[in-house]
């Protein structure tokens, strides 16, 4: 649970986003490209069959989650990892901090991990005097800018190349450039130094395998490989539902995740890490700590919203969502934006804080259609909306309007009267010099029922 229970000002945030022309342009370019790449990638595979199978595997894990956690812990311990179980965000922060301070670590490199965003790990480490540098280019950009990611896959899509050029010039003291190739080389050089100086690496995991105790990390840049092979100490933090039963399941999900995320058959790099360095090996951390985080997952698993935990964080639902595409990730003011974010944030942070997000949807269903693990996002959002009404988080005006509408459609007489009154009221309202009254849509010249006859 978040301590902050003030409702997320989604309407105000979206109004600000909609007035930002540069942001809207960036969002259109990015989400269109992601949608195009994903569509091309899934047309060459039997997507419907595959996602049914993917959904079954994820449900199998959720059904037997306590046993899978146990099996994973046992297998990972056997190959040399030290597994810690953290019940919530603060417990996870404490575990990571004590591992790092116990080894006298001051410099850490990080591979992109939404879970460490969820638990605000960097901020906590900073307070302890530990420098934690993000090494994914997008994460590095938002970290330098003092921001949070606006997209779970491409954290800096809200920033233009000019923004990044100015940011690098200001923070890294390099000459201004707006050429992505030049900017990438600047980051390569700056981060290479950080990699070689780091005393520990922190990563998340895209998947964990119960059968072998392995964790799997997909990246395109190679930063995941560096974080997990260069420092002698590796700390991996992820939530319990990331587990897959068998290694063969990883082979299957390696086809689903990159296709749904970036439209690639496979990301440039996939690291499968199984325990610590053994005799005769020249790669692998000498000490591997795995922090298995619950942070509300067991509670969600035991509720009617269980299926949100099938999510593999591909971000396909963000890119197709008509609301996300217009307002971007920051409007949601939560770690996870877009359709999957609405559901997860409401369940993790509570209705009091997150209820405004339940309006951030048209219930059009595009998200449910692209989901590679068949999370019924629309149904889950609708169920949460019902809960919102039950819990009394609906404004009086909306409640009265809905009651009136319900009564009107229940009676042909009231409905006809209402239609006639609306014509009169609209004529008056459009002369009022105050939005939204003067912007209400003009009633149709003829009613639909009459035209149908």
């Amino acid at each position: 649970m978040s301590r902050d229970t003030a409702p997320i000002p989604f309407r105000e945030n979206s109004a600000r986003a909609l007035n930002d022309a540069a942001l809207r342009h960036a969002l259109v370019v990015a989400t269109d490209a992601f949608v195009r790449l994903r569509t091309a990638a899934v047309t060459s595979i039997p997507f419907e069959d595959w996602r049914a199978r993917a959904s079954d595997i994820r449900m199998e894990v959720l059904e037997g989650l306590p046993q899978y956690v146990e099996r994973f812990t046992e297998a990972a311990t056997k190959v040399g990892a030290q597994v810690h179980y953290a019940v919530d965000a603060s417990a996870a922060r404490e575990v990571v901090a004590s591992i790092l301070t116990g080894h006298g670590v001051r410099k850490v490199v990080k591979a992109k991990s939404m879970v460490t965003e969820e638990i605000h790990l960097n901020h906590h480490l900073e307070g302890l005097g530990i420098e934690a540098v993000e090494t994914d280019l997008g994460e590095y950009i938002v970290q330098l800018a003092g921001e949070t990611p606006s997209h779970i896959l491409a954290p800096a899509i809200h920033r233009s190349r000019k923004d990044v050029g100015k940011l690098f010039a200001e923070k890294l003291g390099v000459p201004y450039s707006e050429d992505p190739a030049v900017l990438t080389k600047v980051a390569r050089k700056a981060l290479r130094e950080k990699f070689l100086a780091a005393e520990a690496g922190i990563s998340g995991a895209n998947f964990a395998v119960a059968e072998t105790g392995s964790i799997a990390i997909f990246t395109n840049e190679g930063n995941g490989r560096m974080v997990t092979t260069l420092p002698r100490l590796h700390v991996a933090v992820f939530t319990i539902e990331k587990i897959l039963p068998r290694l063969a399941d990883l082979a299957f999900f390696a086809r689903m995740l990159p296709r749904s995320a970036s439209g690639q058959p496979l990301s440039s790099y996939l690291s499968i890490i199984t325990g610590t360095r053994k005799p005769g090996e020249a790669t692998g951390a000498e000490e591997l700590h795995i922090v298995l985080l619950d942070n509300g997952r067991t509670r969600i698993r035991d509720s009617e919203f269980r299926e949100i935990l099938k999510c593999i964080r591909c971000s396909a639902c963000l890119n197709v969502c008509p609301v996300f595409r217009k307002v971007g990730g920051h409007a949601y003011a939560s770690t996870y934006p877009g359709p999957m974010g609405i559901v997860l944030t409401t369940l993790l942070d509570g209705m009091e804080r997150a209820h405004p997000l339940l309006d951030a949807t048209t219930l059009c269903g595009a998200c449910s259609e692209v989901c590679p693990v068949k999370v019924p996002l629309v149904n889950l959002i609708r169920a949460l909306r019902e809960r919102k009404v039950e819990m009394g988080f609906t404004s009086g005006a909306e409640k009265h309007a809905m009651t009136a509408f319900g009564a009107a459609v229940g009676s042909p007489f009231l409905f006809r009267t209402g239609q006639a009154m609306w014509r009169v009221l609209w004529g008056l309202a459009r002369h009022v010099d105050r939005p939204p009254l003067n912007r209400l849509p003009r009633p149709a010249a003829d009613t639909f029922r009459r035209r149908l006859r």
Partner: protein, 169 residues
């Protein structure tokens, strides 16, 4: 025995992930290919890291003056992959080979040698061949290091190699 269609599928998919693939029929051809490809890199500035663990790595003829043991400062890494997967045009690196998997990550150019008989059709086949005791690190490499984090403009060589060349023997 080498499955020709498997080899062809591998080479085709290597092309799709922006890597280059060449074929060599024996040690001599491999040597001259390595030479030609390494020579394409900026002349005079080439420094080669070659772990010299496998037979094929030992047989590669590189002038000692160009060799370095330090993969952090090397400009090219020449090494033999543990295996390959045709489905995605991927190279497989295993920590059990006894050489640092990160050796192929830091230099700007990665020149990989792979034996045709080590190409698997799919990851399922590869995992089945690996058995239940996995090496500490399995790295799957499919094309050069890339990012699209700035305005979704594709850029290569973020943290890892900007060029990946594969010679199938």
């Amino acid at each position: 025995m080498t499955d020709v269609s498997l080899l062809e599928r591998f080479i085709e998919n290597v092309g799709k992930v922006s890597a280059e693939a060449f074929r060599a029929s024996g040690a001599d051809e491999l040597n001259s290919l390595v030479w030609r490809i390494v020579g394409e890199d900026a002349a005079g500035k080439v420094s080669v890291y070659c772990p010299r663990v496998t037979e094929k790595e030992k047989a590669v003829n590189i002038p000692p003056a160009l060799l370095t043991d330090n993969y952090v400062s090397a400009s090219v890494c020449v090494e033999e992959a543990f295996a390959a997967v045709a489905e995605t045009g991927s190279l497989i690196w295993s920590s059990r080979s006894g050489k640092p998997v990160q050796g192929g990550l830091l230099p700007a150019h990665h020149l990989a040698i792979v034996s045709a008989e080590h190409i698997y059709e799919s990851f399922e086949d590869l995992f089945a061949a690996l058995g239940p005791n996995l090496p500490t690190n399995i790295t799957v490499e499919s094309g050069p290091s890339r990012t699209a984090d700035i305005e979704l403009t594709l850029t290569v060589g973020v943290h890892g190699p900007e060029r990946l060349t594969i010679i199938v023997v």
